[in-house]
Subunit: 310 residues, 4 copies
């Protein structure tokens, strides 16, 4: 499948690099208002290709997106130190609006994969202005937070993160919810599982992991100015679920009719992702506290949408 | 890592083919008392290699196993139509005894991966006669039954089997236990998950899946005389967990000190598998009925061991 | 991409197993006149899937091929000990005729991938009766012989077969031609390359390799009754070139307008394979002897076609 | 295998990201004098892991390299716009000296993989000061230039770069030599191959490709400030050749006893790379002009070494 990537900054290029290494795309086209950057990224990644796959990588204009099955929206600006994800909003909304109409002029029925932050709001806007069915406008949402959650659990328990199907849901941001109570590995609930491994999830451990998942981005931004490898691989993972029509359960963000008592809100839940985009939504088993937290997260996003007149 | 495969029949060769395609082994050496067969399998698989990986594949004698990190025991005879797994026992025990001493003479500290049936008993014997620590003598156990369970659930729910971490435990055989009650996907318990997908796990569905998991081998044997691709890939999967030191949770069979009130019995549980072999065992969340079934399975295996004087 | 496999014997099932392990297909449908066999192969392979990819594997009738991008033709009968590839012809031609019309009724514009032997003749017939453009009817041809050639060279030189781009061309059979003189690795011609490695390609080595490439199938058949892993992986390799639109150079067989002075003959040359099938043919650098051998191979195939009234 | 990466800048982190995605390493440890950066890179990449492999990624001090099989040297500073590779030398030599002794104190017998520029000189120095056998101190050399060459040829001929085994040799820098005359694909020499494809390698095409290979880095640096994805994947490719003991032919730089009449000089040739490092060197077929160019490149590197008193 041909994949378009609009926004050839660190996130877009990391996604393209991951796609080329893993061989998930037949062709990648980068579009960026900074044309020299798009060309440089395409060249740099195309020099990785001879070692790995047969992916064709190049830079182009919107017209070169013709025939793409998926277009990734990674244009915008990274989070600055101290900046909240929602503060990024103003800077990114305008960018997305102009891009979406350019894409749709060339690719009438794409799956749009939104990575630009604040990803839930941008996904909401993208779905609305594109007129595409919501299940074809997929925000990366908490896919990254879920990866962080699993990565930390893996490190604590000294097992493979692939063996820990735990999820983070809600907003990709401060109000997100770690779905501890439904989390299970090896068909034992996570707490029992960890205890059996001799690595109990004490209240302290739990708090530390909760804190680290929420603050992972801030910590990375402090050290290197921005985050991009994790999300780049996350985008590649979603692309694989679509191009291989996997029906994989991934925590991604789409416009959702009802969740936790809130209507028409865009946030992340575990969802089934395949060739047609998202085909089903799942509500994890949540305890009272988690459910209330999800409600607050949904409410917050809804209020924000409302206040923006979306 | 160099991998030895003793028994170059359909199971051993399918495992070798899977290893070569996936690139999980640097070198594969087949040993079989039927030397011409070992040579033919090695040649056939080595013709697959130029398309896929740089694995070196050859046939040899026991001396050629020197330096192997893992030796797969797939010698023996396949299940005949109508034959129970336990009936195979007599035919396979003698074979294993002679093989193990040959291997240990050349590879002093291998991880042994037992596929020969009845796999739990053969694994028990292998651990005993080899004198290796039990966590380095790993039976493929219910890894295949677990795959069948996930495959059927995936088909029913129309999602990817990788998104369904459900397990089968106990004996690889008629008394095995499908651990339904701890099974969870997307952080929702399996039943709720399936219902949300509009594919409820009715009593009927459950019975059908239970029946099909238990009878998968019989059905395949009816159609093609033996089963080998599933178990071949299962062996390759265990090998990957070891060579990449993954710490993956896989349902495999090892000598276990206590399970469900039974001492020193060899059966499958979800276990953590990495470079050192099995590093931890897990008991899934089981309801009363499942626990009783596991007890019966353990009891049955124990009685059999006892009756064999093991 | 959805892949159909008509003929669920050892070759078809090995191809399906390789596809599922490598994750090159989204869906595989087996069709065989022996329905129980097709079901058994699909089940066995589907039990490999949970360890490897999200490929859906099932058995079906021709109607279930709807939507397939590629259909593999592996129906027929394997080579018996002592039987020449051409003697297989009578047994396989009739089978193919009936199958092709069934496929085209459901999939109007497939790429057909022919593995049935004698593969050059069967490919010729398939292209003719299907009315498809010749570049969409691809015989596996000498892809397997090329793999054998590289595998033997790799073993002799103790380097990776992926670093040896040598080719076998002409008939998949006794008259095939090892293109020694154009063979180059590391940008040095093969003979110089091997000498530099201290593994000279003496006349003796050359004869031994030539002999072993030509007799590989016979040797394997002696040891195990039939060959299937090599060709199964070869088919998977061609499928990858198509589904990923690679433009890879592979030695495959298609109806060719002119080669070595012979018109409209179906044999193998290195060809460029991508999403549209074969997009270009290449004539390797051949010395006089090799060119004459290719001519003889082409002539022989042409005479055979003529004698069959094709 | 455990891989150390000293220098967690863009090159080191791109290599680590590629390794984690492709699953070539069991464990990656980043060391950087900027500890916060090493931590940030390790965290960012570890969030990619749950989607891809079971690689453990973390930051540490030199002591944490204990047990590593390969240590990548990517510390130093990137090329600034307008800066020649050799001007980087002063800035990078001192860095390497201090690093090497720290590594050897912990890992007595590593394979060192040098990426720091000017890579040939730094590799020469590293081999000398480490006292390791030269075949275990491998500079990435022209592996990247070779990838660029293949990538441009692939684009021109519209075929897969994996099907074009052409090499760049000599210095990784302005004096490097494109080994056109020995280049062959599909067992036809490259020029004939391209002509057959209807994409002739005219003098103009040849000049353009030569120019673009030589100037690829400058062009990318202009657009994005530095190059890293190509070299990151190149490092991962060398790592794979070692960990899987492939015996792959790669153009890498090591101290070489004699080349083109120059003694003890460090530059790139196609070399066989496997578990023990480089096991053989190859001199491509070169025409007179190419051979003279290689001589000049070797002479230049030798003079530079001499002038530095190495
Ligand atoms: N979803 C997540 O989990 C996640 C994680 C990290 C970053 N992000 C977000 O991804 C986005 C990209 O981050 P980055 O680090 O790559 O930023 P970046 O600044 O490196 O790249 C952004 C690119 O977008 C381009 N761009 C801006 N306006 C454009 C327009 N109108 N048309 C085309 N291109 C345009 C810029 O030229 C720049 O190259 C940001 O919104 C960031 O917050 C999301
Ligand atoms: N664990 C599972 O899930 C599972 C699944 C399928 C089959 N199996 C078992 O795997 C084993 C192999 O099955 P198969 O289908 O490959 O059988 P097979 O008959 O095709 O192959 C068995 C091979 O073992 C060889 N052999 C016998 N005695 C030997 C000895 N003393 N030394 C060396 N080689 C010897 C035979 O020559 C033969 O090639 C059987 O025990 C079968 O029941 C296990
Ligand atoms: N191209 C190569 O390099 C290569 C290598 C090995 C084998 N082969 C050829 O591949 C073919 C298959 O070999 P195999 O070992 O799998 O044989 P096999 O006997 O195991 O399988 C052939 C299958 O075709 C089925 N079949 C027969 N007639 C059919 C029909 N009319 N419709 C549907 N299915 C039908 C049979 O039921 C059987 O399951 C043979 O022609 C063999 O010579 C080619
Ligand atoms: N071989 C090639 O083909 C190729 C291609 C591109 C870049 N490079 C070279 O790779 C090197 C790294 O480039 P980059 O873009 O990653 O630069 P960078 O500036 O992003 O990273 C260099 C890192 O090295 C660290 N470092 C410096 N001194 C150190 C010390 N004493 N100990 C530990 N860490 C130290 C710095 O803190 C920094 O994080 C440069 O020499 C560059 O020229 C080589």
């Amino acid at each position: 499948m041909k994949i378009g990537i609009v926004g050839a900054g660190m996130v877009g290029s990391s996604a393209g690099f991951a796609l080329a290494i893993a061989g998930y795309a037949n062709e990648i086209v980068f579009v960026d208002k900074n044309e020299a950057l798009a060309v440089a990224q395409a060249e740099d990644i195309s020099h990785a290709v001879p070692f790995m796959s047969a992916t064709r990588v190049r830079a182009g204009g919107y017209a070169d997106l013709a025939g793409a099955g998926i277009v990734v929206l990674s244009a915008g600006v990274g989070q600055r130190p101290g900046e909240s994800r929602l503060e990024l909003l103003g800077r990114n909304t305008a960018v997305i609006r102009s891009i979406v109409s350019e894409i749709l002029a060339v690719v009438p029925d794409p799956i749009l994969l939104v990575a630009a932050n604040p990803v839930d709001i941008i996904t909401h806007i993208t779905a609305s202005i594109s007129g595409l069915p919501p299940h074809r406008v997929i925000g990366s949402g908490t896919i990254l937070d879920t990866a962080r959650f699993r990565s930390l659990l893996a490190r604590h328990m000294e097992i493979s993160p692939q063996s820990i199907p735990a999820f983070v849901i809600g907003e990709h941001g401060d109000s997100e919810v770690l779905a501890w109570s439904g989390a299970v590995a090896g068909s034992a609930d996570l707490v029992s599982f960890a205890a059996q491994l001799g690595k109990p999830v004490t209240e302290e451990v739990r708090k530390a992991i909760d804190h680290d998942v929420r603050n992972a981005a801030y910590k990375i931004i402090e050290g290197k100015g921005a985050t991009y490898y994790g999300i780049g691989a996350g985008i590649a993972r979603i692309v694989r679920a679509i191009t291989r029509d996997e029906g994989s359960v991934l925590s991604v963000s789409i416009q959702t009719a009802h969740v936790a008592g809130v209507d028409n809100v865009t946030l992340s839940l575990p969802r089934v992702v395949g060739a047609r985009g998202v085909t089903a939504d799942l509500l994890p088993d949540l305890d009272h506290e988690e459910f209330e937290a999800l409600k607050r997260s949904a409410r917050m996003l809804k209020d924000l949408s409302n206040s923006l007149g979306l």
